[in-house]
């Protein structure tokens, strides 16, 4: 379907399970997707949907025990990361795949100067000497828009504000020019005005460097503005995946539809806000059938009994639902012959 040479990352049938006192938690249960070079993929879902575990699995950062990548492939440039020896993975982490996390305060070492933390990256991965690494650190801070970078490079993390710390994290992540940047809720802890700054920065850096990005978020607004493709996750499964514009215009899954409708639209006057009833499922005790069935407004008997099929609606559009075709048609979607 897609050109192999354009694919940077291919995840096939990935399953990551956790053994807990509560039973086996299938946090990620058989998901597959591809990421092309230079593209941004958004992964949306509520807490517990498996979006963060997916990305920790890509980097093999799942704590084992209790977690375990049970099966699947993570092909990065055609090479399966899951089969590599751990020191080879360490060379990929930070160098070719970098990650930024939600809370910049807990991801920076409070006892180390910013300069030291940035230099560590390039000394380790690029073999920089001290002076070279120091200059590189300053240049990276300038790239991410820290004013007076030369004066501030020797500060400690607590001397920076939340937005500035997130910029430092981005500087650190990009300092070895990675091919893939994974950003896990990079702006959730920030104010909207700072969020806008950081998102613009990620967009600009992506244009300049051609880095591919996986953006994990619960905010559909952020996804709309930042991504080319979107994956919607629920209970460890991909519920829907499509090009961003198509997903927002003609969703083919009742869960996606519900999510889109439950965000208040500031530009429109509306009465009662649509709400998805009930709570996200306890992944340790899933019943047979569709995991969303108890909350779904168009649920039928078959949904409670049989696990739904992953239906292809369009060239790049899939939905996990017994009635995917109907839902898609109701949203006004039509499959184009490709």
């Amino acid at each position: 379907m897609t050109q192999k040479n354009g694919t940077l990352l291919e995840v096939n049938e990935l399953r990551t399970y956790f053994n807990t006192d509560d039973g086996l938690v299938k946090a990620v249960d058989g998901i597959s997707f591809q990421l092309h070079r230079g593209e941004t993929l958004g992964i949306v879902g509520e807490s517990g949907s498996g979006k963060s575990v997916t990305n920790l699995s890509i980097l093999r950062l799942i704590p084992d025990p209790p977690g375990k990548i049970v099966s699947g492939e993570v092909l990065f440039n055609g090479e399966d990361i899951l089969l590599l020896p751990s020191d080879a993975v360490r060379k990929i982490r930070g160098r070719r795949i970098a990650m930024i996390f939600q809370d910049p305060m807990t991801s920076l070492n409070p006892f180390m100067r910013i300069s030291r933390q940035l230099m560590e990256m390039t000394e380790l991965h690029l073999g920089h000497k001290r002076a070279q690494a120091y200059e590189h650190a300053i240049r990276m801070l300038e790239t991410v828009g820290i004013p007076d970078a030369r004066m501030r490079v020797d500060d400690y993390p607590h001397e920076f504000s939340g937005g500035m710390r997130q910029r430092v994290m981005i500087a650190m992540a990009l300092s070895c020019h990675p091919e893939l940047l994974i950003a896990d809720e990079p702006t959730t802890a920030l104010d909207v005005t700072i969020q806008a700054q950081i998102l613009e920065l990620i967009k600009k850096l992506k244009q300049d460097t051609g880095t591919s990005v996986i953006l994990i978020t619960h905010d559909l607004g952020v996804v709309a503005g930042m991504t080319d493709h979107v994956i919607v996750m629920y209970a460890g499964k991909i519920f829907e995946q499509a090009r961003t514009r198509e997903l927002f215009a003609t969703p083919g899954n009742p869960y996606t539809k519900g999510l889109l409708r439950s965000v208040p639209d500031p530009t429109a006057e509306q009465g009662k806000l649509y709400q998805i009833p009930g709570l996200p499922p306890d992944v340790a005790h899933l019943k047979p059938g569709c995991p969303f069935a108890p909350r779904c407004e168009r649920v039928e008997e078959i949904c409670r009994q049989e696990f739904p099929p992953f239906v292809q609606l369009n060239a790049d559009h899939f939905s996990l639902c017994h009635f995917a075709g109907d839902v898609f048609a109701e949203s006004g979607g039509s499959s184009q012959a490709s």
Binding site: E46, A196, P266, T267, L279
Partner: protein, 359 residues
């Protein structure tokens, strides 16, 4: 004209007059002088002269970035934080003057819902005890009566009455927020401060809690001060919105107006920063990205506190502290570069400050 003078009619439930909350951070002692840190005490002016009317039966949304003082203001209104100066009138009683016994009496009518549903419920108390405690405190219901009342309250907020013997850790974030709401409702209040009640919740649960708060307002005739940094949520639940920046109100208007025709450069920037869940809109819209962070409230900028980040700032803005002025009917803004005659900052001549002439 001042915001306080316009609506002193009978419909106002809470009336805040020139409220200030300053936190003394110390400093200025002998040691500081020796170390060259200067001889002035460091004072955080978290709320610095706020006047606001909250009308009976309305939801007033209070928005601003973190550190702007919105939570401090919400708490000071209930005197959970002692105000430094100013007055808070509730049904003609000045809450800021009450002694602790009279204040506690009034708390029956004034309740609060907190942001973090994980931290605001005592983990060692059952749901029945948590929701029933206010009934006990105010001697409203005891024994079997109390239990029945707690069951009613749980059902009102959409929880099963079987939960009465369970502990907070057995519940999800959204359910805990419902428990917090039930506790606030126990004493039958008429005013509730909701401090970021949905920020910690998942998207699908946020909608549930917003709808619940709205239903309760209608059924129980409540008045809310809804504090949030989420402008989409505030726009949805509020009748009027107040925008706060570094301890001061900068714009007050009804929710639709403030969204469709914001006057203040700061409000415009805030609104344009909110991502819209529509790729077509996102691709085409012009976003005003503010430079830098919110300045420290210890040493706020002189004059208009927003001048360091404002794309329209002129030299005068560094000198004059702008007053909240009624620019259009019921639409207040604090900016010297606009006036009732020239409300659109885009059309004001460069370096002109029509707001100064009106004073």
């Amino acid at each position: 004209m001042n915001a306080t003078n316009t609506e002193t009619n009978g419909s106002s439930l809470i009336s805040i007059r020139d409220l200030k909350v300053h936190f003394d951070m110390g400093g200025g002692g002998v040691f500081d002088k020796l170390l060259g840190a200067g001889s002035t005490r460091r004072v955080v002016k978290a709320v610095d002269g706020v006047s606001l009317e909250i009308l009976k039966g309305e939801t007033l949304g209070l928005v601003g970035e973190s550190g702007c003082g919105k939570s401090t203001l919400g708490r000071a209104v209930l005197r959970l934080i002692e105000p430094t100066s100013g007055q808070i009138f509730y049904r003609d009683k000045d809450l800021s003057k009450l002694n602790s016994r009279d204040l506690r009496e009034q708390r029956r009518n004034l309740q609060m819902i907190f942001q973090d549903p994980y931290a605001s419920l005592n983990p060692r108390m059952t749901i029945g005890q948590i929701v029933g405690e206010p009934l006990d405190t105010f001697g409203l219901a005891r024994g079997k009566d109390g239990e029945r009342r707690v069951q009613e309250l749980l059902e009102t907020v959409g929880l099963s009455k079987r939960f009465i013997k369970r502990y907070p850790h057995e519940f999800s974030g959204g359910q805990r927020q419902r428990i917090g709401i039930a506790r606030a409702l126990a004493v039958d209040p008429d005013f509730i401060v909701a401090d970021e009640p949905i920020s910690a919740l998942d998207v699908s649960i946020q909608a549930q809690i917003m709808n619940l708060l709205e239903r309760l307002r209608r059924e129980k005739n409540l008045t809310y001060l809804f504090i949030s940094h989420d402008l989409r949520a505030v726009r949805h639940v509020s009748d009027r919105v107040a925008v706060m920046y570094l301890g001061k109100l900068v714009e007050v208007a009804d929710a639709k107006t403030i969204y469709d025709e914001p006057l203040m450069p700061y409000t415009r920037a805030l609104i344009s920063a909110v991502p819209v869940p529509d790729p077509a809109v996102e691709a085409s819209r012009q976003r005003i990205v503010l430079e830098g962070d919110v300045p420290s409230p210890i040493n706020p900028p002189s004059g208009c506190r927003f001048h360091t980040r404002c794309p329209y700032a002129i030299d005068k803005c560094k000198e004059v502290v702008p007053e909240l002025v009624e620019i259009k009917p019921n639409h207040f803004a604090a900016c010297i570069r606009i006036s009732p005659q020239q409300p659109d900052i885009e059309t004001v001549a460069p370096n002109d400050a029509p707001g100064l002439r009106a004073l």
